[in-house]
């Protein structure tokens, strides 16, 4: 078989397995992610760009494990946690996951509200409509068509690249900053670094990615392609983050470094540089929020039902899988609902979700490494020793960063500046 033919076969399989890795990576750039990247660019310009490459590496290491476990066992992460660590552990993990994801969902709907307010649409119109759209997407559709819509939504992230190009930032400086690590003994800078790592990896991603790999029917046979998809997904995601930081560095930091309070504020700051840059950035924010708001409730309901043994799946109806659909519906209705309450302490809730995230992520990562090293589960696909060293290093760094972020958040909650 010629090289070209073999290459073509790989490409065909690659497109057949495309989905899980890309979608997970893209949803990771949600409203909260965009805010963190914007903040980094606005306050420190191009300087924090060097963190992106290591973040990509950390992401790839953890995501690859999920894809591998899904492909080898054909089981979701919550299934495996239940089977190997029992019901009580699963229940605690699921409870934390629901709380953490719920606050995330709120943040996404808040993102929808603020991005559409830039287009002068009242949140009392935009949020209910967005909630209805998200709900109907799953209840009225099938997984295959839902996934196609999501994959298409990934394309819209190009908006950020165009927005950044339109501002004409200092490309030379950004290229240089991407490879030159800079440490400053400055609380704000350290906070931003921790924030960048901390928001880049969330507990839901592990559950979503693995479940999506299983749902897609990927097996060890086409695992090689699946792994490439996961890696490409992470790189594209980091690419998008790069352009967001660069755009804000050029539009805000180069004018006058300052702190911003929301992603919508970052969009507004782009306005003097051209109407299109502003529109694209806002549209990107809307898309990211809506995309994440569609995935998170679904992923949460899936993980919980799988772990606790309730019927689940978009291919079943309301009557067959009541817990699944009720949980899904409640997450959306409540998540969207609280955004409409005028005096709701949204920022506090989002800070609180950082804390939940900080507790949950170490647990899940440790479970994952333990699961993937069980030969009765993974057979020849267990981690090699060298890979275990890398994995544990990644886990330790991620856990340290998340716990640090949690610490900073707790400080913020107790002693607001």
């Amino acid at each position: 078989v010629g090289f070209i033919q073999r290459f073509r076969r790989h490409i065909v399989i690659f497109f057949a397995v495309i989905g899980p890795g890309f979608i997970t990576a893209m949803v990771d750039n949600d409203a909260g992610g965009i805010y963190t990247y914007s903040q980094a660019g606005a306050m420190f310009g191009y300087m924090p760009l060097w963190t992106l490459a290591p973040i990509a590496l950390l992401l790839v290491v953890t995501q690859e494990m999920n894809a591998r476990m899904g492909a080898v066992t054909g089981k979701g992460l919550s299934d495996l946690i239940r089977e190997e660590f029992g019901l009580r552990t699963t229940f605690i993990v699921m409870a934390l996951l629901v709380v953490g994801n719920f606050t995330n969902i709120m943040a996404e709907f808040a993102g929808v509200a603020s991005s559409l307010e830039l287009f002068h649409v009242s949140r009392y119109i935009s949020v209910p409509l967005a909630a209805l759209f998200v709900w109907a997407l799953v209840v009225k559709g099938t997984y295959a068509s839902v996934e196609k819509i999501f994959l298409f939504a990934c394309v819209t992230y190009i908006a950020y690249i165009i927005a950044a190009v339109l501002i004409s930032p200092d490309w030379e400086a950004s290229a240089l900053a991407s490879v030159r690590p800079v440490f400053l003994a400055n609380t704000a800078y350290v906070t931003i670094l921790i924030g960048l790592v901390g928001t880049s990896i969330a507990p839901w991603m592990q559950f979503y990615l693995q479940a999506a790999v299983v749902e897609k029917g990927i097996t060890v046979k086409d695992y090689a392609e699946s792994r490439i998809e996961v890696i490409v997904g992470c790189i594209v995601m980091i690419g998008v983050a790069f352009f967001i930081i660069v755009a804000c560095a050029a539009a805000i930091w180069q004018v006058k470094p300052r702190e911003i309070t929301s992603a919508a504020e970052a969009a507004k700051a782009l306005r003097p540089f051209g109407e299109y840059a502003y529109l694209l950035f806002s549209a990107g924010l809307l898309n990211a929020s809506l995309f994440a708001a569609s995935i998170l409730p679904l992923s949460t309901a899936y993980s919980v039902c799988e772990g606790l043994g309730f019927e689940s799946g978009v291919n079943r109806n309301f009557k067959e899988a009541p817990v699944f659909y009720w949980l899904y519906t409640l997450l959306i209705v409540l998540g969207a609902g609280v955004v409409l309450i005028p005096s709701f302490p949204l920022v506090k809730m989002i800070l609180f979700s950082q804390v939940v995230n900080g507790i949950l992520l170490p647990l899940i990562l440790i479970f994952m490494v333990r699961l993937i090293n069980r030969s009765e589960l993974m057979g020849e696909w267990v981690n090699s020793r060298a890979y275990n060293v890398i994995t544990w290093t990644a886990v330790v760094i991620l856990v340290a960063m998340t716990v640090a972020l949690m610490g900073l958040t707790v400080r913020e909650m107790w002693f607001p500046a």
């Binding site: 054909g74 089981k75 089977e83 019901l87 229940f91 029917g217 046979k221 606790l308 043994g309």
Partner: protein, 415 residues
Amino acid sequence: VAESLLFLTELMGLKVCDLKGRRIGRIKDAGIVPRVDPRRIDRFLVGGEWTWWMVRHDQVASITLDGIVLSDDHLTPYHEDEYMLRLVKDLLDQQIIDVDGRKVVRVTDVTFELRKANSHDVLLVREVDIGIRSIVRRLFQGIVPPRIVRRLQRGISPNSIRWDMCNIIEPDPQRRLRLNISHKALEEMHPADLADIVEELSHEDREAVFETLDSEVAAEALSEVEDTKTQANILESLEADRAADIIEEMAPDEAADVLSEMKESSSERILEEMDAEPKTDVEELLEFDEESAGGMMNNEFLTVADSASVGDALKAIKENEEQVDTLTTLFLHDADGRLSGALPIGRLLLAEGAIPLRRLASEDDVISVPVGERRDRVTELVDKYNLMALPVVDAHGRQVGSITADDIISVLRQG
């Protein structure tokens, strides 16, 4: 809950004392030996101070919520027993198939029936519990006294599956034999239900089910699995001769679809193992482009000469018994072997036996497509003329296959 019931969550951690009231340890697990008795708890595993002990069912005097009292002190240390199904280790939190409800469920708890036998207390497995009520029990197990847990769960409606309706899936064939696990009950299910179940299982469990099912049932279930890629994955995971047995039972067009989805090395290995006749059928179909009428059609169809009588046709149908379940249309050919007509089976039933078939077929030209016809044109024709079966012909007008309505439905569903 009556006192004659006990849950596995309650059994776990129960104190075990000997006749003189000395404490031996706490219950860690319980096992049944299906070859001896499919329901009775045969051994209790007791975690003592130094080691785990094994208590036989006939060494137990009484079992209550307050503890277990033994009637015999001759305990043996625990050792692995391949013939024992351990409820905590092998069953709890694992997936099993609910044959009655036709779905895959995860075991949260087990309910026992407490019975007296020769003044001994015996535990019999009664049902497997799933759902919220058993989750509550699991969460509070060991934290809150069992009697309070019983009160807590009272308001929640139970969700249980009778033990004889539970089908355990065991990937290891040796252990399947030792534990007396068969998947016979699955064979009674509708193939479509079985396919739904299989789609939910992990790769290993799928393999286990398809290894043991009767080839015919396996073939039927496999063709109900929606995604061709999943079908191919399942067959590729089996031994080649086993996969060949299953494929032989499938309709040739479906078999060809699955085989063309596989890597060439795998499909060749399976084809090698197949019997000559089904193999040629499938190989013929593999030649065609999947997107064409040739790729959609089935080359098993019934055709008789148009000069034959109704009686001859009925005889031909009887001789091709294996096709009768899906047979809707009888095709006719002229003296040169060219397709000349199509007759719905129903019409044969109303006609006199001696009438030549030519007279029954409609006067109009029979609708057919060449093997190379595009897929969307085929669906269009079937829809337009409301056909149950559309004949496919070669360059000489001779029939090579037929596309039936269910082929069209699968094409449309795949989008």
